[in-house]
C-alpha cells in the first residue's frame, strides 16, 4: 500500500535526522585552549575581513605577555544588530568584559548606565587620569568622557579628511582638449573653496545621449563625503561652525556658518543637478569600486583607508595610479576667510559594560584595554587591525607610518584637528536629523536655514527629554 510506505519513509527519514543530529552534537571537541589560565577576558569585536587575522594576532601577542590571562574573542558585525546583541546581553547579565564602542555612541551609552566609569579602576591600577588625558590627542580623549568621567578609551584615531585629485585623468582631459590648457595646474591643487568651485566646473563633463544628458566625469560631491551627516560635519566645521555647546547643552545646527556651508552645498547641487551626480557617485559599491579611482570622479575627500584601497585595487590594468605622478593628497581647501578648521577625528573606543561587577574581571578588562590603547606593542598591532592611527600621541606607530608621504598628511590632520562629533546623549538622533536636513536642502524641499533649524529644534527636544529622565547611573 503506497500510504504505508510513505509513512515508513517519513519515519525512517526522521530517525536518520535524529541520528545525524545526535552524532553532530556528540563529536564536538572540547575547548582546551583556555585551560590552565587563571582568568578569561571575554571580548566582543567588529574586526572581520582582512582585519580578522591581525586582530587575532594581537590577541595572541597579548596572551603571551600576560600569562595569567586568556582571551575569548567573539566577532560581532558592525551594524545595529550588534547593538541588539549588546543590549540583550546587558539586560540578561551575560555581557562580555570588553566591548568596542563607536566614539560618538559613548555619551549616549554612558548616560543610560550601560558602561562602567573607569576613573577609580584607572587610579587603582596606578594610572594618573589627569596625566592620561595629555597622552591622547584631545578630540580622541574627549569622546570617551561623559560628565567629567572616563567611560571609554579611544582605540583608533580616524582623521577626516584629505583632499585627493586624480592628476592622470585631468591631464588626459586637457590633452583631449576637454579642459582648456592653462586653465588649471594639475600639480597645484585648489587651496580655497572658491578655487575648488572653479576646479569642479572645469573637470565636470556632460555627454548627450538619446535620453538626455549624462555626466561622464564629475568633481567633488560635497554631500558625498561618507554620508550626508559626515558631509555637513566636515563642511560645517570648514566654514567655522559649531554643532553643539557642551557648556549650555544647546544644539546649534542652525549656526549661521553651518547654514552657509549647507548653502554652498545646495548651490553645488543646483549647478550640477543633484540626481545626476548622486547617480554617478552611487557607483561606489564596495572598496574596490570607488568612482575616484575608477576615473569617474576627479576630486574627492578621502578617508585614510582609501590610500590602501588605491594601492590594492587600482594597482594594475587600466586603473593604475601612482602617487605623485597620477594623483595627489593634500589638506582640504580653506574655508571662508582663510580658515583651516575642517579637520576632525572619529574612531572606535574600548569600554567595560556596567554589569561586570567582579573586581578581578574588571581589572583584567582594563589591562587589556590599556595594552591596546596606550602601550607600544599593543597600539602598533591595534593600528594594523583598525587601519587608522593610535590615539596615543607617543605611539611608535607614527614614525613608521610617516614614511609614507600620504599617511604623513593624515598624521598632520590628526595633530591639527580640534573637533570630534558632539559628545551628548542624543548623538545618533542628531546624526540622523543632520543627514535628513542635508537631504531636504539639496533636493530643494527646504531652504538650508529651514532644514537645519528643524534638525536643531528636533534634536534639542530629544536631548532635553533624555536629560530630564531620572539621570543616568552614576
Amino acid at each position: 500500500m503506497p500510504r504505508q510506505s510513505a509513512t515508513a519513509r517519513i519515519i525512517s527519514l526522521s530517525l536518520v535526522g535524529v541520528a545525524v543530529a545526535t552524532v553532530l552534537l556528540l563529536v564536538r571537541p572540547p575547548d582546551l585552549s583556555l585551560q590552565g589560565r587563571r582568568l578569561v577576558v571575554t571580548i566582543w569585536h567588529p574586526w572581520g575581513g582582512a582585519t580578522l587575522e591581525t586582530f587575532q594576532n594581537s590577541v595572541n601577542v597579548f596572551e603571551k605577555s600576560h600569562p595569567d590571562l586568556a582571551c575569548k574573542t567573539l566577532y560581532v558585525p558592525n551594524d545595529l544588530s550588534a547593538s541588539q546583541k549588546f543590549f540583550t546581553s546587558v539586560i540578561g547579565d551575560c555581557a562580555p568584559d570588553v566591548i568596542f564602542v563607536d566614539g560618538p555612541q559613548v555619551a549616549e551609552w554612558a548616560h543610560r548606565g550601560l558602561l562602567l566609569p573607569l576613573d577609580d579602576l584607572l587610579a587603582a591600577e596606578g594610572v594618573d587620569v589627569a596625566g592620561l588625558k595629555n597622552d591622547f590627542f584631545a578630540p580622541c580623549w574627549e569622546q570617551g568622557l561623559y560628565r567629567g568621567k572616563v567611560y571609554a578609551i579611544t582605540y583608533s584615531a580616524d582623521p577626516n579628511f584629505c583632499f585627493v585629485w586624480n592628476k592622470k585623468m585631468i591631464r588626459q582631459a586637457i590633452e583631449r582638449g576637454e579642459i582648456p590648457a592653462g586653465a588649471l595646474d594639475v600639480d597645484k591643487p585648489p587651496a580655497t573653496l572658491a578655487q575648488l568651485d572653479r576646479w569642479n566646473a572645469l573637470v565636470t563633463r556632460r555627454v548627450k545621449t538619446a535620453t538626455g544628458d549624462r555626466l561622464e566625469r564629475i568633481g567633488l560631491v560635497p554631500w558625498g563625503v561618507y554620508g550626508n551627516a559626515n558631509s555637513i560635519f566636515t563642511w560645517g566645521w570648514a566654514f567655522g561652525g559649531q554643532f553643539y555647546d557642551p557648556a549650555t547643552g544647546k544644539v546649534t545646527a542652525d549656526d549661521p556658518r553651518i547654514v552657509e556651508a549647507l548653502e554652498w552645498m545646495v548651490r553645488h547641487a543646483r549647478e550640477y543637478d543633484y540626481e545626476r551626480i548622486s547617480n554617478l557617485a552611487s557607483t561606489f559599491q564596495s572598496e574596490a569600486r570607488n568612482p575616484f579611482f575608477l576615473g569617474q570622479q576627479m576630486l574627492n575627500l578621502a578617508h585614510m583607508s582609501m590610500i590602501a584601497d588605491i594601492d590594492r585595487f587600482a594597482s594594475e590594468g587600466e586603473g593604475k595610479l601612482e602617487y605623485g605622478r597620477d594623483y595627489g593628497v593634500c589638506p582640504i581647501p580653506q574655508g571662508p576667510g582663510g580658515l583651516n578648521a575642517a579637520a576632525w577625528v572619529g574612531g572606535w573606543t574600548m569600554a567595560i559594560p556596567a554589569t561586570i561587577t567582579d573586581p578581578a574581571r574588571r581589572r583584567a578588562a582594563l589591562r587589556y584595554i590599556l595594552w591596546n590603547c596606550r602601550q607600544p606593542e599593543g597600539t602598533t598591532l591595534a593600528a594594523r587591525t583598525n587601519r587608522c592611527f593610535p590615539a596615543w600621541k607617543d605611539a611608535p606607530f607614527f614614525p613608521e607610518a610617516a614614511k609614507d608621504p600620504r599617511l604623513a598628511q593624515f598624521i598632520d590632520i590628526l595633530r591639527s584637528s580640534r573637533h570630534q562629533r558632539p559628545v551628548m546623549p542624543a548623538q545618533a538622533f542628531y546624526m540622523d536629523q543632520l543627514g535628513r536636513a542635508v537631504d531636504k536642502a539639496i533636493r530643494g524641499e527646504l531652504t538650508p536655514a529651514q532644514a537645519l533649524g528643524r534638525a536643531s529644534r528636533a534634536t534639542q527636544e530629544r536631548l532635553d527629554e533624555v536629560l530630564a529622565e531620572q539621570g543616568g547611573q552614576p
Binding site: 547593538s83 543610560r112 531620572q470
Partner: protein, 304 residues
C-alpha cells in the same frame, strides 16, 4: 465522536502551540504592551506615562511618513508579487522539457544570501550603468523619437519617486517561495476535473477561471495573508540598499523607524507603542481580507 471528545482531542493536537504560547509569547507580548505606555530606555526601569507615546506618535512626521510608505508599498507589492508567483507557476506547470532547470533558476534569487545580493541591486539599479536602465534605454529612446517626448531613464536609487518601484521589482525577483506554493497547489488539481471540463467543451481560459483558480484558492489565500503580514513589517531590504537612508525618506518604512527607535535612539517605550499600532492595523487588514475573500476560497474538504 462527541463534541467534547473532539474538543479534547483538538486541544491535545494543538498543545505544542499552547505550550510555546504560554512559555514564550504571553509574557513578552504583555510586557511590550505595558512598555507602550511607558518611557523605557531598556536599561532603567520603565516609567508609566499613560498615552504620551501615542500622542507624540501622531504628531511625529517620521512616523506618519513611515506609515504612508508602508501602506503604498503593501498596496502595490502584495498584488505584484502574488501575480508574478502565479504566472511563473503557470509557466512552470506546463508539460515541457527542461522544467526542472527552469524551476531551479526561478527559485535562485530566493536562496542567494541577502548580504551577498545587496551590492548587486546597487549595480543593477544604477541610473547610468545599471542593467535595468540599459534594457530600458532603447525603449525610452524609441519613445522619445516617436512621440517627441523627453523621457529620461529613472533614477531608481536617487529619485524619491522611484525607490519604491525599485523595491517592488526586487520583491518580484524573490517570489520563489510563493511560486513553489502555487506550483504545489497547481499539482493538486485533479486531472479528471480538466478532462471532464474538456468533454464539456471548455477552453483554456474557462478551465483556468472555473477549475484552476478555485482549486488553488486556499494557497492563494495563504500567500495573500502572509504577504500582507510580511510587507507591513518590511524593512530589511531598504536598509541594505540605502544604509544611510534613501532620498526624501522615501524608503523609511514603518518597521525600520520602529527598529531605529528601539535600538538606535533607545526609545523602547515609544517603539512598543508603534508596534502595537502596527499590530492593530495588521489585524484589521487581515480580518478584512478573511471576511471579503470567504466567498472565493474553496475548500474541498468543506464541501461534504
Amino acid at each position: 465522536m462527541t463534541p467534547r471528545k473532539e474538543r479534547r482531542l483538538g486541544l491535545l493536537f494543538i498543545s505544542p502551540f499552547l505550550v510555546g504560547f504560554a512559555v514564550f509569547t504571553v509574557y513578552p507580548v504583555l510586557a511590550s504592551l505595558y512598555y507602550s505606555f511607558c518611557k523605557y530606555d531598556l536599561l532603567r526601569p520603565p516609567e508609566f506615562v499613560g498615552l504620551a507615546n501615542f500622542r507624540t506618535l501622531l504628531s511625529d512626521p517620521l512616523f506618519l511618513q513611515g506609515l504612508w510608505n508602508t501602506l503604498v508599498y503593501t498596496v502595490f507589492a502584495v498584488p505584484v508579487t502574488m501575480l508574478t508567483a502565479l504566472l511563473l507557476a503557470f509557466l512552470l506547470n506546463l508539460k515541457l522539457r527542461g522544467q526542472a532547470v527552469y524551476r531551479t533558476i526561478f527559485f535562485l534569487p530566493s536562496i542567494v544570501p541577502v548580504v551577498a545580493s545587496s551590492v548587486l541591486w546597487l549595480w543593477l539599479f544604477n541610473t547610468d550603468h545599471g542593467l535595468v536602465n540599459l534594457l530600458l534605454q532603447p525603449l525610452l529612446a524609441g519613445l522619445n523619437g516617436l512621440l517627441g517626448t523627453q523621457l529620461t531613464p529613472p533614477g531608481w536609487l536617487t529619485n524619491p519617486a522611484c525607490t519604491k518601484p525599485a523595491l517592488i521589482l526586487v520583491a518580484a525577483w524573490g517570489v520563489g517561495g510563493s511560486m513553489i506554493l502555487c506550483l504545489a497547489g497547481l499539482g493538486d488539481v485533479p486531472r479528471q476535473m480538466y478532462e471532464a471540463a474538456e468533454l464539456d467543451g471548455a477552453g483554456a481560459w474557462k478551465k483556468t477561471l472555473h477549475i484552476t483558480l478555485p482549486m488553488i484558492s486556499p494557497v492563494l489565500f495563504f500567500t495573500l495573508i502572509m504577504g500582507l503580514i510580511g510587507s507591513f513589517q518590511f524593512f530589511a531590504q531598504p536598509l541594505v540598499m540605502w544604509p544611510n537612508g534613501a532620498p526624501g525618506d522615501s524608503a523609511l518604512f514603518y518597521a525600520l523607524y520602529l527598529f531605529q527607535n528601539a535600538f538606535l535612539y533607545l526609545r523602547m517605550g515609544y517603539a512598543s507603542a508603534q508596534a502595537w499600532i502596527l499590530f492593530v492595523v495588521i489585524v484589521l487588514a487581515t480580518v478584512l481580507v478573511f471576511r471579503s475573500t470567504r466567498r472565493f476560497v474553496y475548500y474541498e474538504g468543506d464541501n461534504v
